[in-house]
Amino acid sequence: MTQVTLSGLTKIFDQKSPPAVDNLDLEIESGKLTALLGPSGCGKTTTMKMIAGLLRPTAGDILFDGDSILSIKPEERGAVMVFQNYLLFPYMNIADNIGFGLKMRKVNKKEIRSRVQDMLDLVQLPGFEDRKPNQLSGGQQQRIALARALIVQPNVLLLDEPLSNLDAHLRDEMRVLIRRIQTEMGITTVFVTHDQEEAVVLADKVALLFDGRLQQFDAPDSFYDTPNTVDIATFFGGTNFIPGYYLDGTITTDIGVFDAPNSLVPEGDAVLSIRPEAVDLGEGGENSVSGTVLSHVYAGRYARFQIRIGDIEIEAVTEPGQVKLFADGDNIPVKFDPDKIWVLGPNTAEQPAATTG
């Protein structure tokens, strides 16, 4: 169990371009599963390689349980990385691949053999010892790569896009496997992904990076409920933004005044954000306004509505089962539950009138 601390971690590849990782501070909790999330090129894999010792930071420090490990060689760090494309050594069979790390540690052959068996059981591929990597499917290769990393009982397990090369159904399987193994062995695990859903489903905590900078480090649901910025809310998709002015627990917008107890801004220009599924259609009373149904689509058990309120459009999603509520052109009351409104600072120069992502 190892706690990993990144302190002012910076990586500059090329003086002419901006840093790949920019002054990153992060406390990765011991024994937890942490996701490094961000669009491609945001510096997440670079960060991971620096933790593994495969890249040298330009500035900053990396600490395991409070001790700097920058001078420790990658092979002695106990931070094992599993690459996105698995990289099983092609000329070794599966047993030799899994046993590689133990061979490097001069463990005797008999013990290697028995621990390789255990690992194959763990990843549910018993009997695969003598096969060659090219005889395995992508999902199987991924599991062998995981076993090869776990056999050395790493202090920190680093997974680079562990699910991105897999088909949808294999992805679920792999997700369950990673979660199970991580819980059982309690290894501090960091994984990199560009898929926010994957991060949210799998991780205990998510670190969101844009352009090498940390945007938010939080529990997964916080990114939906209390995002730090409009950009973050947009990255997590499907939120309505309405610009306004915030004062004393209410936000005044072009379409009305709403109670909003939860706010990032104490006072001033702000943006009201509410998720489509939090919009109550057909309910009047407090915090409600009147809108017109513009269009709607059915998506199986729920429906998605475009609603016009004054000069802006918002999106609303009905609860499961409630599908045929309204027809296009209907005038209906629309209610924003005060507890589900989240008020953000206007962080971009040009505020979107109302955006649905």
Partner: protein, 282 residues
């Protein structure tokens, strides 16, 4: 064939014509490629072969006995050729593999210049360089001995080996090394267990052809060897005009390693591999 339904007119006969034509072409091509070897083989087993006989009137193993007999020093020359080629191959591998790694895996300032420097000895004819080298070697006592001949053979072989390895490393995913380091392998263990097995086929093919390039050198040996170092090609040239039977037998000995190498490496050898590019030097 006669019971088969008649082929559609206009299609099948044309196909047959094309195939026949193609086979005629292929046979003609192979005949041309094999033709120069034919008189060499016949001479090597002939005893009397006077004009205008198309085939010898008498056959014998005389040429082969001459080849084995100590008077002509064929065995000595074969040994010397092999020794020089082996030394040259070892040196080329030791120096060329690291250099190929640098060129294949890294981008750096001045890479283009290094590439030109490596390519130049492959294209510039040996004779243009060896006259100058001879002047240097005479001064340092490297003329007329095996060491000097081995060194001068490096001029074509080392760049060749470097180019082959640069191609091999360019196709190697260096992340395998990072993966091995991450799993606990040190620098040397990584090279030993991960990189070496991956590049090994390339090293072997490169080394085999390096051996052949040295094995076939004539003019470099002629000038630097200065009559003191007698290799197979030197002997072969001396017999070519005077003793066709012995020259024929020597030719057979001389081409054997090449055929062996081709048999061993044909599965690794395709025209787009760097290994072919340097064969112009054999």
């Amino acid at each position: 064939m006669t019971t088969a339904p008649a082929p559609l007119p206009g299609i099948a006969p044309r196909t047959i014509g094309r195939t026949t034509l193609r086979w005629a072409g292929i046979m003609g091509l192979l005949a041309f490629l094999v033709a120069p070897m034919v008189p060499l083989f016949i001479w090597s087993i002939s005893f009397r072969w006077f004009y205008p006989d198309i085939l010898p009137s008498e056959y014998s193993a005389r040429a082969w006995e001459q080849v084995i007999s100590p008077t002509n020093n064929v065995i000595g020359a074969t040994g010397q050729t092999t020794l020089i080629a082996l030394l040259c191959t070892v040196l080329s591998v030791l120096l060329g593999v690291p250099a190929g790694r640098a060129l294949g895996l890294h981008n750096f300032k001045g890479k283009r210049i290094v590439e030109v420097l490596i390519l130049a000895p492959i294209i510039v004819p040996g004779l243009a360089v060896v006259l100058g080298i001879d002047t240097m070697f005479i001064r340092y006592g490297l003329s007329g001995n095996i060491l000097g001949v081995t060194l001068v053979h490096l001029v074509p072989t080392l760049p060749y080996m470097t180019l082959v390895m640069s191609g091999v490393y360019a196709n190697y995913d260096v992340d395998y090394e990072l993966q091995a380091r991450s799993l606990g392998a040190g620098r040397w263990a990584t090279q030993r267990y991960v990189t070496l097995p991956a590049v090994f086929p390339g090293v072997v093919v490169g080394a085999l052809f390096t051996f052949l390039i040295s094995w076939s050198q004539y003019v470099l040996t002629l000038l630097i060897g200065d009559g003191q170092v007698e290799t197979l090609p030197i002997l072969l040239f001396n017999f070519a005009r005077s003793e066709p039977a012995i020259a024929g037998a020597l030719s057979v000995v001389f081409i054997l390693p090449g055929i062996l190498v081709l048999l061993l490496s044909s599965k690794y050898l395709s025209g787009d591999s760097a290994a072919v590019g340097g064969i112009g030097n054999i």
